[in-house]
Symmetry: C2
Subunit: 358 residues, 2 copies
C-alpha cells in the first residue's frame, strides 16, 4: 500500500492507494474513529461497492444517502438532503461523512460535511480516475448554481482519502480517458519526466493496466498534495492546477454541462493552453505539438466544433469576471513548467480560439 500525506499541520491527512482497500476492515479501523457515519454515494456506484464498504466499516451506526448519478444533481438541494439525514439521525459533531463515488459525490458530500454543525469529519473514497487523481484530494468542496459551476462551496479538507484502484475495473472507458486529462495536466505544470512516461505508457493506461494506473495515481496525488500543502487556499501556486480549466469551463458552460465530461473539457483546454502558450511566444512549437498529440492519443478532444470562437470568448470573459480583474490564464513556458499570466498579446487569444472553436 502506498501512503502519502497531505501536510497541513494539525489538519494533515493520509492518502492511501492500493488494490482492494474498500474490502479491508483494518484500513477503516485504523484511520476512522467516528461511531456515527453517513455514507453518501450514487445509484450507479452503490450497487458495486457499498455493501463491501459497509462490511469493512464494522460496528458503527451507518446511514446511507444515495443520490442520482451525474453533474446535474450537484445542487444545494441535495446538500440539504444529506443534512436532513444527519439531523434526522441526531448525528453529533463527532460524526463523519464518507463519500463513495466520483467528483460529484465527493464535492457534494464534502460541502455537507463542511456545513453541518460548522464542520464535521469527512472521508473520501473516490471511485473514478478523475476523483482519485484530482478532486478527492485538496479540500475543495461545493455544488453548482444554475448560473455557474462550483459557485457555492467551502474549503474543507478530508481526514482520510482511500483510493482503491480496483474500482477502475468498473469504470467506463470514457471516464478513464477523462481522468487522464488531469494526469497530463500535472505532468505539464511541473513534471516533464511524467510527461515522457505518459508518452511511453499511454497504451497501458488506456488498456487499464493496474501497475501503470497506480503509478499515475500516486504521482498525481504526490504533486497535488505538495502544491495544496504549500497553498491550501489558492492564494498563489495552487492556481497552476487550473491549467486548461479556463478554456475547459467555457466549453462546459457553452455546452450546458450536458455533453462534455469535465475531464474531456480539460483535455481540450490543455491543447488550447499549449497553443495559446505557443502563440504568446512562450512555448516551442514542437512541445505544443507533443501536448496536442498526447491529448489526442488519450482519446480526448482537442477542439470544439459545436461552439463558435465568439461564444467561447464570452464564456471565458464571464469566467474572468468571476476571477475578478483581467483574464488571467495558466500558460506553459515548457513542458513541466507553468505560470499564471495576464500579460499576453490579445491577438494570441483570438488566434487560439479561432483555431480551436467552430
Amino acid at each position: 500500500m502506498d501512503t502519502l500525506t497531505l501536510d497541513l499541520g494539525n489538519r494533515s491527512y493520509p492518502i492511501l492507494i492500493d488494490s482492494g482497500l474498500i474490502g479491508r476492515p483494518e484500513v477503516f479501523r485504523q484511520h476512522l474513529s467516528a461511531r456515527d457515519l453517513a455514507v453518501v454515494s450514487n445509484t450507479t456506484v452503490a450497487p458495486l461497492y457499498l455493501a463491501k464498504l459497509i462490511r469493512s466499516l464494522g460496528e458503527r451506526r451507518i446511514v446511507e444517502v444515495l443520490l442520482p448519478d451525474g453533474e446535474a444533481h450537484k445542487t444545494l438541494g441535495n446538500v440539504a438532503r444529506v443534512i436532513d439525514v444527519l439531523v434526522a439521525n441526531q448525528f453529533a459533531r463527532d460524526c463523519a461523512v464518507l463519500a463513495l463515488g466520483g467528483g460529484v459525490v465527493g464535492d457534494l458530500a464534502g460541502f455537507a460535511a463542511a456545513c453541518y454543525q460548522r464542520g464535521v469529519a469527512f472521508v473520501q473514497v473516490p471511485t473514478t480516475l478523475l476523483a482519485q487523481v484530482d478532486s478527492a484530494v485538496g479540500g475543495k468542496t461545493g455544488v453548482n448554481h444554475p448560473g455557474g459551476k462550483n459557485l457555492i462551496g467551502a474549503f474543507h479538507q478530508p481526514r482520510l482519502v482511500v483510493i482503491d484502484t480496483d474500482t477502475l475495473a468498473s469504470l467506463p472507458p470514457r471516464e478513464l480517458r477523462a481522468g487522464l486529462a488531469e494526469v497530463i495536466k500535472y505532468a505539464l505544470i511541473c513534471d516533464a519526466a511524467l510527461f515522457d512516461w505518459l508518452e511511453e505508457h499511454l497504451d497501458a493506461l488506456l488498456a487499464g493496466e493496474r501497475l501503470a494506473l497506480t503509478h499515475v495515481i500516486r504521482r498525481s496525488c504526490e504533486i497535488k498534495a505538495a502544491i495544496v500543502g504549500r497553498d491550501e487556499r489558492e492564494q498563489s501556486e495552487r492556481a497552476l492546477l487550473n491549467l486548461g480549466h479556463t478554456f475547459g469551463h467555457a466549453i462546459e458552460a457553452a455546452t450546458a454541462y450536458t455533453q462534455w465530461l469535465h475531464g474531456e473539457a480539460v483535455g481540450a483546454g490543455l491543447a488550447m493552453a499549449a497553443a495559446m502558450s505557443q502563440e504568446s511566444g512562450l512555448l516551442a512549437a514542437a512541445d505544443c505539438e507533443r501536448v496536442r498529440r498526447l491529448v489526442a492519443r488519450a482519446g480526448l478532444p482537442t477542439r470544439v466544433a459545436s461552439v463558435s470562437p465568439t461564444k467561447a470568448l464570452s464564456h471565458m470573459t464571464l469566467d474572468k469576471k468571476v476571477l475578478g480583474g483581467r483574464l488571467r490564464l495558466v500558460l506553459l513556458r515548457r513542458i513541466g513548467e507553468a505560470l499564471v499570466s495576464a500579460d499576453y498579446p490579445a491577438a494570441a487569444l483570438e488566434r487560439t480560439l479561432a483555431a480551436h472553436f467552430g
Copy 2:
C-alpha cells in the same frame, strides 16, 4: 470613536464603535475596498437605516436583499436567495456582503458570504444590542434547520464590524433587555468588575443612556475579541461563551423558537447556570442570588412556567447529543470565573430543573 481589533493574524479586523457611524462615508471609504456590494437587511431595519447606509457607501455597485424579519426566516432557502442575487449580478470573488440588522441577518448573510465562491468578504453592521455585543463579532455564521438551531453554518470572520450606537434608539425595549443578557454573561465568565458596574448602572442601561450602553458594548466586544482571538474554533476557552446557553437552547426548542427571544432564554439560562453551580457546591449562595437578582432587574425571566422539568431535560439531552458525549455545562466558580464541567452531581441538575421549570 472606539476602535478594537480582533487579532487573527492576517485575518484580523477592526470593530468600530460610535454614535452615527452609519452616516459617515469616511468609515466605509477607509475600511471597505470592494466595488461590488450586496447589502442584506430585513423589512423592519431597512426603512430605518438602509438609505443612509447606501449614501455613506458612495460610488459602488450596490444590490439589496431584503428578508422578512424574524428567526423563522434564518433558513438555507434564504441563503440561496442571497446567493441567487450575487450570481444574477455576476458578482466576483472580490465582492463583499454587508449585513445590516440583528443576529438573524448577520448569521444568514455571513453564511452566504462564507459559501459564495468558497468565501467572499463580509461586513457586519449590527443594529440590535444583542448583535452589537455578541453575534456580530467572532465569525460564527449559519442558519437553522427544522431539527435544530444553527445546525448549518461556517466559521467565517467579517472584515469589519461597524457598531453605530444610534441604532439602539429605535430598538424595542424587549430587544434591549434581551441584549443585556449577553452582557451579564460576559461579566459572569470573566469580569467581576463589570458585574459590579452592571449592578450599579442597570437603570441607566434600561433607560437607553448612550454612555452606559457604549460602555457595555465596548467591554463586551473587548472580552469576546480576546477570547475568539485565542480560540477561534471553540476548541477550548470559547466554550465558556456558552454560559447559560444549554439551558437557553432547551427553552427555545421547548417553546418552538416562537415565544422567547434568544436573549430572554439566555437570561433565564444564566439564572439556571448560577443555581446549578450553587447546587454543585461551586458557587456561594449569596453570589447565586446576585445573579438571579440582576437578571430579574434587567426585566429578563428567571424561570419557565410553561415547560416541565422532564421536557427541559429531554431537550438538554438532545443538545448533549449534538455536543457529543456527556452533558457538559458551563458553570460558575464565582462571579467572574467560569469553567466547563461534566463532573457534577446528577441530583444537582434535577434540583435545578425542578426549581426553574413547570
